[in-house]
């Protein structure tokens, strides 16, 4: 299937080959920012080394192995021949500074100045000038008789020369041997979303990202790598978490690297689910000393996806009566009265009364969102800096306007060359998210609004002074107009505050070339404060007989809770790095690092009743005041110590070997099993560098085979924070008792300790193939992988009789396996001045329990039905829906006994085991559950004369879910309102007919009789949630630089962008991205805040 799929778009790609190549936006890749990339330059250009502006000590170290290169930025040239001048431009015609110009076969060269101009003395007319610059294809020009050589460089799309930020170091993409995916800023920022994770969706093979809600301030997006669970996040070398990354501004992210296989082992404990390595932007020195000021501002309009609406009053009453009539038990002896009389229904039909549309009264259709980032980038060769200040605001869907979130992002990265050998980097970051929400709303807001009866007035007696609170009409007495309004109910304000300060010192050790020492210290506090102000208010019930309003007190008494979290972490790394090339053939990149981490978490919460109408803790009463602290599960500290090493070797970039290890110790394990050794090996062979391919198969521009093995571990699933010990946890939040009226908090025993407890470990195997054809126009990679985990934590409660009564310790008992494949392809081409690309990726993963501790099966059926060991974990057990009964005849003559309540329109399940009864024993595997069979993404785009276009599709195939509650049941929860599609149902022609009379005539519909559930059981209940979604569609226009230079602007681009514009799916009524992602869970989330669709306009200005 996946092959079909991947082949399907290949013709698309070739068909578009006739399209024209577009010039790349000039400003985007003129200068690559990281020093590491600059270092890479020297290995690309054979045998030569040039100092370019802004390069730092590493290059200094490397260049000393070559001759004739001075310390300054000037050229080194021979003294004969003649002088040539020229200008190097990019595809837009702008001058490219810093381009290296070399005379082939020599070490003579120069670099272009700020305008892209150069001058060089050539020995002879046969001289060939080689122009090279990072990110651009190297060009060779034979000088001949020319005295002026103007060259236009074409952006290099091969990316082979790019450098990838890996764990604790960097590596050239060409010599990578692990399964690694990279995405850079340009590809991230084209998706406009408040959550940078959502901007990665569909763009990285093997990475599944689903947004579960667009709730302001929630950042509710899940990510997993190869279906393995929550990955580790490393930001600028420091372990952080998903919450931190998702709240970063996409403008401050330089690149994201995903380590999917054994290459993640360098992160040791907690790396088993793969690692997301994030690098922030750094300052770059402009040769002309100018400062780049970039302002990026956008405004969006959000609409909400898949929010069905409920029925109006007449339909509601009709359905309610039907629900009543179908109840055989209630109507058997004597028919009960209808819930609503015909006269009551008629009032709504003929317009005497009108329904109340609660949904429209509570929710807006469109709400705004905005994002602005200002970044300043510049510096000299001594000091370089990057500042970013971002502000974004997102409004929620509540009509009251009381649900919103705003965020400030600040980042400062300063690199300083203190002395020739000593450099420092200071990185400071702050993220402040403020989320405001009406008190007492949350997941139930949509649910309760859907369920509000359409005959319930917004206001008692329609008098706006008296919000309606009639419990007869309102589910749980909740008036959702009031409940979403902070003026009535109070608010919850979450102030999330994350900071980090990181100091890095790097010292070039004299005497040994390529050896340097590096120390990093990071301190990161995270101190959210949650203020929950619950305000008492009154709703009213109108008493028509007395024309009075009865007040209904709600939320009493008023109170305020303030919860403080005091979390911080520190990280220290001390390391030696050695990077060297021997005899130009043997390249070594190695390091040895000692690392320590410590983190501490604490919290407390204060509560007071408020008797005065105030929202401050200080205004509260002493009586009933409470101060609580989280118990031992929520207050803890942890520490790790590690030794990390790498030895990376390649021979002429052809034969690649890599060895990494990590020796890790965690405070969470007993001293005896605390330390672990996690090695990873990988090797690769770049066949395309071999003569027999290079010479004979010229269409093959790149071919690399690679394989890796790594052992990783994870302590994340542990329930305990400290090594097992016999003792008792204070557990006053769970247990307590009043002795003589005084509360005594209880304790609970910590269980039987398992002194052998340790982390689970994962052995990860990966084999891959990278290829490039036709001058790297068509590139791609294929990976297959397998991960075997063993020692998964479980208690042996499944086998130890409960009479032992012990809280059993977690033991390293279970084993499972993930395996799958990934394919990524990309086609780039240029046709005249149209430059375009098509890329796609598809990945599949499957999970099985290889060995699982279970209660022994009682018999072979029990084994088959209820045990999971040795099986795939995505089996959905259920009955098959067999037939829809359409007549009383069919019901009476059905061979298998049916329930006495059976009516036309009902579905029967099949008797799968043919035992003459339909029951649970007929269940068998009917679908897969949990993760999709495969995920894919397709990106296309192009540029033409300043216009750029990008489309990103993302999808999942083979994912099955089940509706629940309001989505699948008409009039749920005892007859509350219901969604409109349930009106398509079986019903008698005469609404008051006796349902159990065989002469009753029926009108057919999709759903059975209201109150019967044939659409949610068996295979009928299995919904195919496969989908494809146009995540991003963006069109931009960059004004020609000729115009801009007149107004002293470097760049100005306008764009229109959409997020989630189109969705193709068979799933109705709910968003296909919202299924719960855990394995084995078929249900979908549908009450929580929906996912949005946004339309954005924005501009990027660079001065």
């Amino acid at each position: 299937m996946f092959l079909l799929f991947s082949l399907a778009w290949c013709p698309v790609a070739s068909a578009q080959r006739t399209l024209v190549r577009l010039p790349q936006a000039a400003s985007q890749s003129r200068i690559k920012h990281s020093e590491a990339q600059q270092r890479d330059l020297f290995s690309t250009v054979d045998n030569v080394s040039i100092q370019v502006p802004g390069s730092t000590r590493n290059e200094v170290g490397a260049e000393t192995s070559h001759n004739n290169v001075g310390d300054n930025n000037t050229l080194v040239a021979a003294h004969q021949g003649r002088d040539i001048t020229g200008k190097v431009t990019d595809e837009d015609g702008s001058g490219l500074p810093g381009v290296s110009v070399l005379i082939e076969g020599t070490t003579i060269g120069t670099v272009t100045d700020a305008d892209g101009k150069f001058a060089i003395n050539i020995p002879s007319d046969e001289s060939v000038l080689v122009f090279s610059f990072i990110g651009y294809t190297t060009q060779r020009v034979t000088v001949g008789a020319l005295s002026t050589v103007d060259v236009s460089l074409v952006a290099d799309v091969t990316k082979l020369n790019e450098v990838v930020v890996m764990g604790y170091g960097t590596q050239k993409k060409a010599t990578l041997t692990g399964a690694i995916s990279v995405i850079d800023n340009k590809d991230i920022v084209r998706t406009k979303n408040e959550n940078v994770l959502n901007s990665l969706t569909g763009k990285l093979p093997g990475v599944r990202i689903v947004q579960k809600s667009a709730a302001p301030g929630a950042y509710d997006t899940q990510i997993d790598i190869r279906g393995m669970g929550d990955p580790l996040f490393v930001i600028d070398g420091i372990v952080r978490d998903k919450d931190f990354f998702s709240r970063m501004s996409s403008e401050e992210v330089e690149s994201v690297t995903i380590l999917k296989d054994g290459s993640a082992a360098v992160y040791g404990l907690r790396s088993a689910n793969g690692v997301v390595v994030v690098t922030t932007k750094k300052g770059i020195a402009n040769p002309d000393g100018k400062v780049d000021v970039t302002l990026n501002s956008s405004t969006s309009w959000q609409q909400f996806l898949y929010v069905p609406k409920s029925v109006s009053a007449a339909d509601y009453m009709t359905l309610r009566n039907e629900q009543n009539w179908q109840d055989f038990g209630k109507n058997y002896f004597v028919r009960t009265n209808p819930m609503f009389t015909d006269a009551q229904i008629e009032e709504y039909r003929n317009g005497t009364k009108t329904s109340y549309d609660w949904f429209d009264q509570v929710f807006k259709k469109t709400t705004p969102q905005s994002q602005t980032d200002l970044s300043i980038n510049g510096g000299s060769d001594k000091i370089r800096y990057f500042f970013n200040l971002g502000y974004s605001k997102q409004d929620g869907s509540y009509k009251s306007g009381d649900y919103y979130s705003s965020r400030w992002n600040m980042r400062t990265n300063i690199d300083a060359q203190i002395t020739k050998r000593l450099s420092a980097r200071i990185s400071l970051g702050a993220i402040m998210v403020n989320t405001h929400q009406p008190n007492g709303t949350g997941w139930s807001t949509y649910k309760l609004t859907w369920l509000t009866r359409p005959d319930a007035p917004f206001y008692a007696n329609d008098n706006p002074e008296y919000p309606n609170g009639d419990a007869q009409l309102l589910n749980e007495g909740a008036n959702m107009i009031v409940q979403t309004n902070s003026d009535y109910v109070g608010y919850n304000i979450t102030d999330d505050r994350k900071y980090n300060g990181t100091l890095t010192l790097e010292y070039d050790i004299p005497g040994i070339e390529g050896l340097s020492a590096k120390g990093i210290y990071d301190y990161s506090p995270n101190t959210p404060v949650i203020t929950s102000y619950k305000r008492a208010y009154e709703l009213y019930r109108y008493n028509p007989d007395a024309d009075t309003y009865s007040p209904i007190a709600r939320n009493t008494p008023s109170g305020v809770t303030k919860t403080f979290f005091l979390n911080y972490s520190t990280n220290m790394q001390l390391g030696l790095h050695y990077i060297h090339s021997f005899f130009n053939d043997h390249n070594v990149n190695s390091f040895l690092i000692y690392e320590e981490r410590y983190n501490s978490t604490d919290n407390y919460s204060l509560y007071r009743d408020l008797m005065v109408d105030s929202e401050y803790l200080s205004a509260g009463e002493d009586l009933h005041q409470l101060a609580t602290q989280g118990t031992s599960g929520q207050v803890f500290d942890r520490a790790t110590q590690s030794l990390i090493g790498q030895l990376n070797y390649d021979f002429r970039g052809k034969y690649l070997f890599d060895f990494k290890f990590r020796y890790d110790g965690s405070s969470r394990f007993p001293a005896g099993s605390r330390f672990g050794f996690f090695p990873a090996f990988s090797a690769g062979w770049r066949l395309s560098e071999e003569g027999f391919i290079k010479n004979s198969l010229t269409f093959l521009s790149n071919l690399k085979v690679r394989g890796s093995y790594g052992k990783m571990a994870d302590d994340g699933g542990l329930r305990i924070n400290y090594p097992p010990a016999i003792g008792y946890s204070l557990n006053g939040n769970e247990y307590g008792w009043f002795y003589d009226g005084v509360l005594t908090g209880g304790v609970s025993n910590t269980g039987i300790p398992n002194y052998n407890l340790t982390w689970y470990s994962a052995n990860t195997y990966n084999a891959g193939l990278d290829f490039g054809f036709l001058d790297q126009k068509l590139t791609g990679s294929v990976d297959i992988y397998k991960r075997d985990r063993s020692g998964l934590l479980e208690t042996s409660a499944a086998v130890i009789p409960g009479t032992a009564g012990a809280t059993l310790p977690e033991e390293n008992l279970n084993k499972d396996r993930q395996f799958g494949y990934e394919i990524a392809l990309r086609y780039d081409n240029t046709f005249k001045d149209i430059k375009y690309y098509v890329s796609g990726q598809v990945s599949a993963t499957k999970n099985m329990r290889t060995s699982w501790l279970e209660t022994p099966a009682g018999n072979s059926y029990d084994r088959w039905r209820n045990r999971t060991s040795g099986r795939y974990s995505d089996i959905w057990w259920g009955n098959e829906s067999q037939t829809q009964l359409t007549s009383y005849d069919q019901i009476q003559n059905y061979q298998i006994p049916l329930g006495q309540n059976t009516l036309p329109g009902d579905w029967v399940l099949n008797d799968w085991n043919q035992d003459g009864v339909i029951n649970d024993a007929d269940q068998h595997p009917i679908a897969s559950v949990g993760r999709p069979v495969f995920n894919y993404g397709i990106s296309l785009g192009g540029t033409w004369k300043g216009i750029d276009l990008a489309l990103d599709f993302q999808g999942a195939w083979g994912v099955y879910v089940q509706y629940a509650e309001v989505l699948t049941e008409a009039l749920p929860f005892g007859g509350q309102n219901t969604l409109s599609y349930f009106t398509d149902r079986w019903r008698p022609v005469d609404p008051n007919a006796d349902y159990f009379n065989p002469n009753t005539q029926w009108v057919a519909g999709y759903y059975p009789v209201t109150g019967h559930d044939g659409r949610r059981t068996g295979t009928n209940g299995v919904q195919n949630a496969s989908y494809m979604r146009l995540k991003t569609a963006q069109i931009g226009y960059t004004l020609p630089s000729a115009w801009l230079s007149k107004i002293k602007m470097k760049n100005l681009r306008f764009y229109v962008s959409t997020y989630n514009l189109l969705t193709f799916t068979g799933l109705k009524n709910t968003d296909p991205e919202r299924p719960t992602a855990g394995t084995g869970d078929a249900y979908i989330e549908f009450y929580n805040y929906p996912v949005n669709k946004t339309y954005t306009i924005g501009a990027t200005v660079k001065f």
Partner: protein
């Protein structure tokens, strides 16, 4: 250059003071801190007390995982034991075992750990205190085994601390007989009574009398089970040769005697029937609310400020009173059915000639009503939280006929045709001959809504409802009146029943007389009637055996006195009558109508509007030993009968 290098090196050395991986665990206490002093022991026992199988305001008997720890526990009002067993009436719950695989061996292990290790700390205590605490542990263990015995019959009796990592054979403990199980409870409680102090100052804490009270209840259960199990006709090994589900009838008297003896111990204590208020109805209601009630032997206290997961606050008021007049939450969830009202002395609603009795006011139904009944239920005209109950189902334009003509409320009865019997929703009015009438009372009974906040009868439940809580604060999780786990009234009833079973009829009725005198009954001491019957009072059930009519009177007295205290279901089980009493049991409700042409009120006996019926199967007497446990330990076989 050199200098810099030195500085950096020094700095690195400074920082390199390695992080210690042996972190002090936060929030963990050791055994000496807990067992070594009396307060520590209290703290240790707090969780054990908290989990005791006390069927209180929060007991959620029909929910498979949350019986004693419900997540969304305010719903308990709908799913209470009373609603399940027919004692209360609501639309929600059908009869079932609690069936939640109750298996509290973790708590039993906690007690066993204490009993095993506490002697190590003997030197820290005086002998009295030491004995008291050890006795308390035995009391707690007995309470857990009682929770097991009343559900499963015989269970494995684990009295020591097992090592879960020991060879599995030693952990596969077999079931003990039901007799041995009840005997263990007897032994533990006897130990507790002998060792614990008679000091009753500390409410909420066990003492000698609390242990005796538990002994009284458990032994009454054991006696009835021994005596009446034979009538169930259970076959199969568990019930017969193995003796795990049922006991030989010859053991009954032994247990009844223990019950009587335990009652004597309690009687020697400082307890008396609550008699503080001359208004006997109010007195009976106050008995449950007065924290200083001399009748309470053991209470479980609550407080609205406790953390939600401790189950130490509840929502009882909010779920028993109508909203918005007396509750600020969803409103009442349960109402008393007529079947239980009839147990008490109440005015006739039908004249000898078969016509309904005419009342001038709806509240006149309370005239001549047993005060205890009025202390148990609220009727029209009663006041709560400053508001007056107003309950009426509808209006008859005229009612010229017998009560039976209304055919228990059937809409098919001619007299009930929609032109004559007017029903309606809240606040609906009707015009009859130029006069406008409200069809219903302010608190029900409304035709257009279900049982929530809609009095489906003529009464609300009063027992345990706290009138002092202001309506604005009658909300979910905002109630904290205590639950009376044991009170002297129950002990008297236990003793009376046991004495009667032992043949001491007159002595038994001495206790009944005390109860009925306090209740304000017109006949405090009925004449003993030794003629036998097999017809029960509720649902006119056919018992599988005959008992003397006076024994049935004692059983009924028990329900009159203990209505709504979560005894009924367990009593039906131990009497082995549940499957007969709850056999197609359709609640009858008392419905009040205004008869328009007469200007009078009548009360009719009707079938519940939704025609729900309650049926308990014979499986209810023994729950199945949890199948998952049998999977881990085959020695738990044989399984209980009918599974």
């Amino acid at each position: 250059m050199k200098k810099q290098l030195i500085y950096i090196t020094l700095f690195c050395i400074g920082v390199l003071s390695c992080q210690d991986l042996n972190l002090e665990p936060k929030g963990i206490l050791g055994e000496p801190e807990l067992f070594g002093n009396e307060y520590g022991v209290k703290k240790y026992f707090a969780a054990i007390y908290n989990s005791l199988p006390i069927e209180d305001f929060l007991y959620y008997g029909t929910d498979s995982d949350h019986a004693y720890r419900p997540d969304n526990y305010w719903e308990q009002g709908k799913k209470s034991l009373g609603n399940m067993s027919g004692e209360f009436f609501n639309t929600w719950v059908l009869v079932d075992n609690d069936g939640f695989a109750y298996w509290p061996y973790d708590r039993i292990r906690d007690v066993n750990t204490f009993i095993e290790n506490f002697p190590n700390y003997r030197d820290n205590y005086t002998e009295d205190v030491y004995n008291k605490l050890l006795g308390e542990a035995h009391f707690l263990r007995a309470f857990y085994y009682f929770g097991l015995a009343k559900r499963y019959g015989g269970v494995p009796l684990v009295k020591d601390v097992q090592d879960p990592l020991a060879p599995k054979e030693t952990l596969e403990v077999p079931r003990n007989t039901e007799y041995d199980t009840w005997k263990l409870i007897y032994e533990d409680l006897t130990f507790a009574i002998e060792n614990m102090s008679a000091n009753t100052d500390e409410t909420g804490r066990a003492n000698k009398y609390v242990a005796a009270a538990l002994l009284s209840r458990t032994m009454l259960y054991a006696g009835s089970i021994a005596k009446y199990s034979q009538y169930l006709g259970f076959q199969g090994e568990a019930a017969t040769s193995a003796g795990m589900a049922g006991m030989d009838p010859s053991k009954a008297d032994e247990f009844f005697q223990y019950c009587v003896d335990a009652g004597k111990v309690v009687e020697a204590g400082p307890f008396s029937l609550y008699n503080k208020d001359a208004d006997k109805a109010k007195n009976f209601a106050d008995l449950f609310l007065d924290p200083g009630s001399p009748e309470s032997i053991f209470i479980k206290d609550y407080n609205i400020t406790t953390p939600g997961n401790t189950r130490l606050r509840h929502s009882y008021d909010a779920l028993m009173s109508p909203q918005p007049d007396m509750s600020s939450f969803v409103g009442a969830e349960s109402y008393p059915p007529l079947d239980f009202m009839e147990l008490y002395e109440m005015p006739a609603i039908v004249n000898p000639d078969g016509t309904p009795v005419r009342f001038d006011n709806r509240g006149d139904i309370k005239n001549d009503m047993e005060p205890r009944m009025r202390g148990t239920m609220f009727f029209d005209g009663d006041e709560l939280r400053g508001k007056t109950f107003s309950i009426q189902r509808g209006i008859y334009k005229n009612f010229d006929g017998l009560a039976s003509d209304a055919d228990q409320g059937s809409s098919a009865a001619p007299i009930n045709n929609a032109d004559n019997r007017i029903l309606g929703g809240r606040g609906w009015t009707t015009n009859i001959n130029g006069v406008t009438y409200n069809i219903t009372g302010a608190h029900g009974h409304f035709e257009d809504q279900g049982g929530e906040n809609n009095c489906w009868g003529s009464a609300f439940i009063r027992k345990y409802v706290d009138p002092s809580r202001p309506t604005s604060d009658v909300r979910e999780y905002r109630s904290d009146q205590h639950w009376v786990v044991f009170r002297l009234g129950e002990i008297y009833l236990n003793t009376a029943e046991a004495l009667y079973e032992l043949g001491h009829r007159e002595e038994a009725f001495n206790y009944i007389e005390m109860i009925r005198t306090r209740a304000g009954s017109k006949v405090p001491r009925p004449v003993i009637d030794m003629s036998s019957t097999n017809i029960g009072t509720i649902n006119k059930a056919n018992y599988p055996y005959s008992i003397e009519k006076s024994l049935q009177f004692i059983r009924d007295e028990r329900e009159r006195e203990l209505y709504g205290e979560n005894h009924w279901w367990w009593d039906l089980r131990r009497w082995r009558t549940a499957d007969q009493v709850l056999n197609q049991f359709r609640h009858r409700v008392l419905s009040c109508y205004y008869v328009a042409d007469e200007g009078k009120y009548i009360y009719l006996d009707e079938i519940n509007r939704w025609n729900r019926s309650w049926t308990a199967s014979k499986q209810c007497y023994y729950e199945p030993i949890p199948w998952g446990e049998i999977g881990k330990n085959n020695n738990l076989l044989p399984q209980n009968p009918l599974y």
